[in-house]
Symmetry: C2
Subunit: 142 residues, 2 copies
């Protein structure tokens, strides 16, 4: 395999969640807001983003637990185990989270977003705009 | 900011593209197939994936060029510059790509996927299933 990839966080999540076990599983119920504090040196890169846009937030889920290649979906032990890569379990070989959020406000280097249920202090690796077409299944699903 | 995050690739892209400049920009026109060769030690984690599923592929875009915080969207110099984080430019602070692909076939540790226009040898960092609801804008857009 190729050599390791090393990334420097571009920012950090500020949220009311300080306990991993209090963080809900990813899902549409995730309705509270959090703040992403971007490295001020990168704030120029936010130009063009406006409230109402949908963004992908990639975080380093740095409190991920031991990786298992077979998991119970959503941690529900009543459901049969399946392969890690067919689930969104946060406990991944490479614990990079992917969350779609709505940008509610943008002030300088601070983005207020809805739908990001991350523990306070979680490092942010990237922000990308959601783009119709390329981010939607094409063909049989829409 | 937090400390660096280091990831070990879980696999590699095998494709007919050996030249960065020949790789098309991300988009619905990306219709050719590529193969993801997963580390055989991780193949168990693919259980539950079946052809026809849509997957997110996260790659380390290891041939990314110099990062600029302002870019021309899709490299089109006739379009005004905008902030990096409002675009899907591959030349990012942390060059992690995000591509939605359709799983066409799965044999052992080899996934044949449609829509992944990556140069041969690109390291793969993660695979995640596309999940209705959480991966779609909620409310005014659908």
């Amino acid at each position: 395999m190729s050599q390791a990839a090393s990334f420097q966080p571009i920012g950090v999540v500020r949220s009311a969640l300080d306990d991993l076990d209090a963080a809900p599983s990813q899902g549409p119920e995730a309705g509270t807001t959090a703040v992403i504090e971007l490295d001020p040196a990168l704030a120029e890169g936010l130009q063009g983003l406006t409230p109402g846009r949908w963004l992908w937030v990639l975080c380093h889920f740095d409190r991920a637990k031991q990786v298992k290649l077979k998991v119970h979906p959503r941690g529900d032990r009543s459901r049969p185990q399946t392969g890690l890569f067919s689930t969104r379990s946060p406990h991944r070989v490479n614990p990079i989270s992917l969350t779609l959020v709505r940008l509610e406000a943008l002030e300088g280097n601070r983005l207020t977003v809805r739908g990001l249920e991350m523990v306070d202090g979680t490092p942010v690796l990237d922000l990308k705009p959601w783009v119709a077409g390329i981010d939607q299944p094409r063909g049989e699903q829409e």
